[in-house]
Each structure stands twice: as C-alpha cells, then as structure tokens.
Amino acid sequence: MLTKRIIPCLDVKDGKVVKGINFVGLRDVGNPPDLAMEYERQGADEITFLDISASLEARQTMLNAVSETASKLFVPLTVGGGIRTAQDMRDALNAGADKVSINSAAVTNPDMITECADSFGKQCVVVAIDGKRKGDKWEVVTHGGTRFTGLDVVEWAQRVQDLGAGEILFTSMDADGVKTGYDIEITGAVADAVDIPVIASGGCGSMEHIYEVFAQTDVSAALAASIFHYNECTVGGVKQYLRDRGINVR
C-alpha cells in the first residue's frame, strides 16, 4: 500500500537556508545539504527547496547547493521558485533535482508545462498552484498571493494535468503562514478533481493538521516548513503520531 508522504520544505536564499532553523549538532544551520540530510535521517520522504533569491547570480549559487545536496541525499529532491523557462528546469534537473516545480510561469505560459513534460518526462514536472478564496470560489493567485488571475483553482488543476503535469503542489494562500491547518475544503476538491498526486501545502502548524489533511482528503503528501524547522517536532515524531491514528506512513 502506498504510504502518505511527509515533505519538509526549505526556503533557500542566496544558497543559504533562511528562517531560524535550530538543530542541535549541526555546525552550519543554514547549509542546505546538511539540513536536507538531517531530514532524511529523521524519515522525510522527500525534500523540497524553494528558491526565494531574486538575482541571477543567486540562482547559480542555488544550483550549486542543489548539486551538493544531490550527491549526499538519498531521497527525492524537488526544486522550485523562479523557474521561468524550460531551460531553467533543465538547469535544475542537470544540477541534480529529481523534480522541479513551476508556479507563475505555468500561468503566464501554460504551454511550458507540455514542453517540459515532453522534454523531461511528466514525473519531474510539478505544477505549484496557489489558491485564495474570493467570494464563494477559489481563484488561482500569483506573486505571493497578491495577484488574482481569474482562473478557478479546480479548473486550473484539471488543465495542468491535461497539459502534462505529473504532480500538483497546492498551497492555500489564506492558510499559508497562519498555522491554523491546511484548508481542507479546497485541498480536498483539488485532490478529487485530478488523477495525479496532490501535495497539500500552507497552514501547517502542528502534527494534528497533517493528520487532518490525510484523514479528510485524498492528497498523497503534506508539505510543511516551520513545524520541522523550529524543532517543534521531528519528521519521525509526526510519522509515529500518524501511524498511531491509522494513517499509513513509512
């Protein structure tokens, strides 16, 4: 039986992990490969790096961090943030990423999804969808939730699947950063609407939230950042909690 995946996400800026991560025993707490390996040791099923750098020079630094990580990490690595073209995706894959997520670029240029799927295989094309409630529906947003696109979240999810996405990373921008739990309703609607794996993201503040999203929706994976970074719980601790409640995890 396929297990539910737990995916710690690391925000990387200029080749360094940002947000005050505090692990005992790590000499350089900002070093992406060291943190990724620590999460693998704890039982993480995959690792995601989100590049939040702004400059082109920083992108090369990020790719170097990806390469170093890829040579030490033995669980899948996804890289996202600032992927604008198929060439960006190729660079990230060549650096050692197993999957690459595209967000705003998929909205402005949907054909890029197909181009990447044809060139690199669907399985490494993750489309990140940010959604925000607007009235009684959910709309796709870009630029950190500041721009509404007019696209309905569920319809867009089906469209990116048809265009060749191998997986969807869905983030509720209403829930993101608030730590009150994943947005169950819209996340469940996205998972029901498509036949590719969906990763829930945004809003995780506790182990209970991860349990809720697995118990109440058909998502394949849950992505979380702060609960792991601030040592609130380990990946292993979360998995034991889920296992005790009947969720199938590794």
Binding site: T3, F74, G96, Q123, P197, S220
Partner: protein, 202 residues
C-alpha cells in the same frame, strides 16, 4: 581484490548523480558511458532509471543483440525503473523494441492516481533484500513489467488494490521498478547486496 568496475549507461536524459554516488559509496568504481559499445566488455552494467522508453533505447538499439548476449552469458547487471523496463521485449509506452532479455511487455498501471509516486512496500525473499529492515522503497512510474515467465518476478507491490511485479531477476540481471538510489537506508542495503553479488559473479 580490485574494486568492482560498474559501467552506467548514460542515455543522454536525466541526471545520474544519485545512482553514481550510491554505487561509489558501496565501494564500486563507477564509469558513466555514452558510447554504448562500451557495455559489451563491461564487468558489471547498470541501466539507470531516467527517461522515457523510446528515448532510453535510442542509443542502445545498435548494440541491442550484443548487450543481450552479454547479459545472457551472465554479466551481472541492474536495471532501475525505465532501465529495468527496457530489459523487456517492448512497452505500451513506446514503439521501440526493448533489449528482449525478459520475455513479455511493459504495460500501463491500472489505477486512478498516476504516476504511482512515493514509498511503497516490496515483498521479496530474494537475497538482495538481506538486511533490509524496512521494505518501503521509492517509486515513480506509470508502467510496469509483465513477464511471460512468472519465475522472472522475485518481488511484488500492491497499489490501489492491485498487485504488480516490482522486482525481477533473469540470469544475473536484476531489475527494480523502485529506485534504490532514492530509497534512503533500505535502498543502500539493496545496492550493497547487489555489489557483493556482482563481485562474486564477475
């Protein structure tokens, strides 16, 4: 004794970081070749798991018979994911013939959520699983091998209520639908066992 020399075939798609590094950590001396004629005198061959069927076979096709003869003669080999699927006669995914070492075809997974992505169990009593304490391995695929001779299957996996073959052996060639190089400690154990096996068989 000289370290085992493992030759990885590079089909020109995808990165080979993890598989290369994993094999090196198991003590093998690894070379990556784009000239597939080099496989004909390799001591041990690894077909890595990146790409689609036809693209993967493209460079191998001119040496198809020669490579199969070497594998039939007992050269130890490991095919991972698509590198396993190309050991079959052919695939629903493409139109190119495979290497034809394992009789049968590669067929689509019957399930709702495709690809089958994530960690799933592999039930196997094969010696390559000796010392594996957690039988979860990482999968990402939409097709699986369906051998005509059931004895080629040495491990299976259940997904969405259906059991499919996920681990194969023919002669001294192993094939895994899962990715040992992405399967953390359990994957490392399988690769270490494979390297020991290959050292004994070379």
């Amino acid at each position: 004794m000289m370290a085992l020399r493992v030759t990885i075939s590079d089909y020109g798609v995808g990165n080979l970081y993890s598989i290369r590094r994993s094999l090196e950590m198991c003590g093998a001396e690894v070379e990556v070749v784009t000239d597939m004629s080099r496989l004909l005198d390799a001591e041990c061959i690894v077909f890595p798991g990146v790409g689609a069927f036809d693209r993967t076979m493209e460079r191998l096709l001119p040496y198809r018979d020669g490579i199969r003869e070497r594998l039939e003669a007992g050269v130890p080999a490991l095919g991972v994911c698509i590198g396993m699927q190309i050991l079959f006669d052919g695939s629903e995914e493409g139109s190119s013939p495979g290497l034809g070492l394992i009789g049968g075809d590669v067929v689509g997974l019957r399930c709702r959520v495709r690809p089958h992505m994530g960690w799933n169990r592999v039930s196997s009593a094969d010696p390559l699983f000796d010392g594996v304490s957690d039988d979860h391995f990482y999968f990402v695929h939409s097709f699986h091998g369906s051998p005509t001779d059931p004895s080629a299957t040495i491990g299976t996996t259940e997904y969405e209520g259906t059991e499919f073959p996920s681990f194969f052996r023919v002669h001294n060639t192993y094939g895994t639908q899962f990715h040992p190089e992405k399967s953390s400690v359990s994957g490392r154990t399988v690769l270490e066992n494979f390297i020991s096996f290959a050292e004994a068989e070379r």
